[in-house]
């Protein structure tokens, strides 16, 4: 059982706060739900819409297709979305909502409560028990919600899409919160940043958390400064991160190379949005994979994660700090606006332990870049022991002094690039979903995972053989990661939210693997289940050839 509702209106009319109120109550009531938004790069006006899917089972994507209900706070919503209302769908028109607002002013002397009333209407439609509602809602709000129930009754909408609440107790996250919490769990105590959609809310979360935790957020004058500050803090002994979008990250590239050369641990979150340049600042895309894979001049190792679920986002971010430290490299978490702004239940367990950081004791003989058998030089920080920590962006000798000894250069390059072998061994394998015998496999990375998995369910339900493989780690890739899946013998469909099929290209480069088909989208919106399902169906129908 499911119910899907779209709430639309220009920025400032309250669609966003309705989403927040609704999802807050849904989560208090232990509902399964998924909510995401589509908004413009402006503070007031324009056209934004919020999409909420409520179900009696776990949901983590937009279905696509038609809506069960549309709440049109303005005419624009009517014009754009009404055509997508399900035949028997419910529609709250701007006029009707105007009525509600008018009556709210009369009854409660406050027009702003009308949005809460509308939330009440929705809750009535899905047949929320009013007593349970009363138990979880602040009392001052309850009367407005109840007024909504009354409207629902009047309009004969109450209970017509009844959804039982079956989720149990869960954490609710959007992608950015998951990453921010993951960073704290990774022991990160320093973040520097410069605001940029869709990464800004990671900074907001971190800065707020830092008020009551031993952590510091510093707003930098630009992104170049942000990442260099983070490298300074990391050098000084504190686990550090930055978060930005593609454009801000483009500015950080030289410092990524600095991290590579100086072997300074750092975690870099890149929230993708449609480019090039300023592009569509508040929309989604997966167009910066290549940018991150090849960021920075010269050659050095890195890891790139691209989580697809809330639990995975927390996990890989947490792990990023461990790996950055262990291998003394930059580690990336690649996400996007869609994942950043989608609110969903976390179905995995939430880890709470913070790994203690260990470092040896060193004396004056310490050499930051000592060539060790393990391939990893010893890491320590200034001021702890007698060891002097000398770090250099030029090619350096073991002590960290500039060198132009070209034989030593070779050994230093070999040390740095040699880590790739270790990283490949440590790589997180992709997640397989479905029947391993299925002849078709949908490959995805990053935020598309759960959309693709639901599309697979839908295909399988129609007896179309399909399975899914999701890469939560996109670099480095090793043969071990794909060995179990006999990909050579399957129809491979790569699903990516970009125009260049960047991951498909990487698969070709790394494995010589050729995607049979690419499903691409680059209008700034996320995929829906329906979309992937129908495009796969079309591709697999016998008429289609590529």
């Amino acid at each position: 059982m499911e119910f899907s509702v779209l709430i639309g209106g220009e920025a400032g009319l309250g669609a966003f706060s309705m989403e927040l109120e609704l999802t807050d109550i849904l989560s208090r009531l232990n509902y399964y739900f998924f909510a995401t938004k589509n908004y413009m790069s402006r503070v007031r006006g324009g056209h934004n819409f919020h999409m909420i899917r409520i179900a009696d089972h776990s949901v983590h994507a937009l279905t696509g297709g038609s809506w069960d209900m549309i709440v049109a706070l303005d005419e624009e919503t009517e014009i754009r979305h009404r055509v997508h209302l399900y035949d028997k769908g419910l529609y709250l028109s701007p006029t009707l909502i105007g009525e509600v607002a008018r009556e709210a002013r009369e009854e409660f002397h406050d027009v702003t409560v009308s949005n809460t009333i509308l939330v009440g209407v929705i809750l009535a439609i899905i047949d929320v028990d009013t007593e349970r509602l009363a138990a979880v809602t602040e009392s001052n709000k309850l009367k407005y919600l109840r007024r909504g129930f009354k409207y629902a009754g009047q309009w004969e909408m109450a209970g017509i899409f009844p959804i039982p609440s079956k989720a149990g107790c869960h954490y609710i996250f959007d992608g950015n919160k998951a990453i921010a919490l993951g960073s704290l769990l990774g022991g990160c105590q320093f973040m520097a940043g410069y605001p940029m959609t869709p990464a800004t809310s990671i900074m907001h979360y971190f800065a707020t958390a830092a008020m009551s935790l031993p952590a510091h957020f510093e707003q930098a004058e630009d992104e170049i400064s942000a990442i260099n500050m983070a490298l300074g803090a990391s050098y000084a002994g504190v686990r550090s991160m930055v978060a930005t979008a593609g454009g801000g990250f483009a500015l950080m590239q030289e410092a990524v190379s600095l991290a590579g050369m100086t072997e300074t641990p750092i975690v870099i979150v890149v929230g993708q949005r449609p480019g090039p340049a300023t592009g569509l600042p508040t929309r989604t895309e997966q167009g910066d994979l290549n940018l991150v894979l090849y960021a920075g001049h010269g050659e050095f190792p890195r890891i790139v994660f691209a989580p697809g679920t809330i639990g995975e986002a927390i996990d890989v971010t947490r792990k990023s700090f461990e790996l950055a430290d262990r291998y003394q490299i930059p580690v990336f978490v690649l996400t996007d606006q869609y994942f950043a702004d989608s609110v969903q239940l976390m179905e995995e367990d939430l880890p709470v332990s913070v790994p203690a950081r260990e470092y040896g004791i060193f004396d004056r003989a310490y050499q930051r870049y000592a060539l060790m058998e393990t391939g990893i030089s010893p890491l320590t920080f200034p001021g702890l022991f007698d060891a002097m920590v000398r770090v250099d962006s030029d090619e350096h000798d073991e002590s960290g002094t500039i060198t132009e000894d070209l034989d030593l250069r070779i050994r230093m390059v070999d040390k740095r690039l040699g880590k790739m072998t270790l990283l490949k061994k440590d790589a997180i394998p992709p997640t397989f979903y479905g029947d391993s015998e299925a002849g078709t496999i949908l490959i995805s990375w990053g935020s598309n995972r759960l959309i693709v998995e639901e599309a697979v369910d839908k295909l399988v339900a129609e007896r179309i053989e399909a399975s899914a493989l999701h890469f939560g780690q996109v670099y480095p890739l090793s043969n071990d990661m794909i060995a179990p899946y006999q990909l050579e013998s399957k129809t491979i469909i790569c699903v990516e939210n970009n125009g260049g099929a960047q991951f498909a290209c990487l698969l070709k480069k790394e494995f010589g693997l050729h995607a049979t088909h690419n499903i691409l989208k680059y209008n700034g919106e996320c995929f829906t289940v329906e979309e992937i399902y129908s495009r796969v169906k079309l591709l697999l129908s016998p008429e289609v050839e590529e």
Binding site: R28, C169, H170, Y171, I172, F173, K177, L184, L185, C188, Q189, F190, A192, A209, A210, S212, L213, P214, A215, H216, E218, A220, E221, I224, S225, A226, N228, M229, L231, G232, A233, S234, Y235, A236, G237, V238, S240, E254, A255, L258, T262, L350, V352, S353, V354, R357, P382, G383, D386, A387, M388, V389, R390, V391, D392, S393, D394, G400, T401, I402
Partner: protein, 274 residues
């Protein structure tokens, strides 16, 4: 530990004298070497930390200050000095210079100002005098020279001084004061470059520099003094405000995040948990 022979500056370079002064000052300071961290950018001046007994992060051209800011924020217990050249700090790194000062941190910012890009062989830097000719300015530098000291005062730096590589004792006093000063201290050192700057030579300076006796208490007076250039060039502490307050910093390094922290944090962020 550092052999003189490994130093890659030209014979006669003003940086040698500055290095001697720095070693002496650091030797005399009541701060253990292990608690001193230098950052630098790229250039001849930026090699300075390599030739001292200190911790250092020799970073990218123009980026010594963000590194220093990051280190200080993470480790208020360390004495942090950013050392670089005029091109590095005022050119490529200009944005960091103006904004680092605004942060009110206890940092020391020292520059070997040779009014030229030394390592890349002699192009105009932001402090190059008007009209000077060189390979990239064959018609002569068209830009108004940047006055780093006046700019620092304008941005709110509470300690601003000019040193001269040709007067070691005087320079030593300035650097000592700057490092001990609680707050952002900016020291611009007149440093003759014998290979590429044949205008601002030792001789040229010797005739011009004079020591400031009375550091002005007024910011505008101080800027005026800082901008004095030509026949008479003031050296010494140009501006000093002992009442300016430094920012208070959180202790983070000695208090790593723990499971208890996280549990408490999760409990507070109650909206997330249902």
């Amino acid at each position: 530990m550092i052999k003189k022979t490994d130093i890659t500056w030209c014979p006669g370079c003003g940086n040698y004298a500055i290095r001697d002064v720095l070693e002496k000052v650091l030797h005399e300071l009541p701060i253990p070497r292990k608690d001193i961290a230098f950052t630098s950018g790229i250039g001849q001046a930026a090699k300075m930390p390599q030739y001292l007994e200190v911790n250092y992060f020799n970073g990218l051209h123009g980026r010594s200050l963000p590194l220093a800011v990051g280190i200080k924020l993470a480790r208020p217990d360390l004495t942090v000095v950013s050392y670089s050249g005029d091109g590095c700090l005022y050119g490529e790194g200009g944005n960091h210079f103006i904004h680092a000062i605004r942060r009110r941190l206890d940092l020391t910012i020292i520059t070997s100002d040779n009014q030229i890009y030394g390592l890349t062989k002699g192009q105009s830097s932001p402090t190059t005098d008007f009209g000077v000719k060189n390979a990239l300015d064959p018609r002569g530098n068209e830009n108004i020279p940047l006055n780093p000291l006046s700019l620092a005062i304008n941005m709110g730096a509470p300690f601003v001084a000019r040193g001269y590589a040709g007067d070691k004792d005087h320079l030593g006093g300035i650097i000592r004061e700057a490092i001990l000063f609680k707050g952002t201290a900016v020291v611009d050192i007149l440093q003759p470059c014998v290979s590429f700057n044949n205008i601002n030579t030792y001789q040229w300076y010797h005739k011009r520099v004079f020591k400031v006796d009375n550091t002005p208490a007024d910011r505008y007076e101080a800027m005026k003094l800082a901008e004095q250039w030509g026949d008479k060039i003031p050296i010494g502490i140009i501006y000093r405000d002992d009442k300016a307050e430094c920012r208070e910093l959180a202790k983070i390094f000695r208090e790593p995040l723990t499971e208890a922290d996280i549990r408490e944090h999760l409990a507070m962020k109650c909206v997330m948990m249902r």
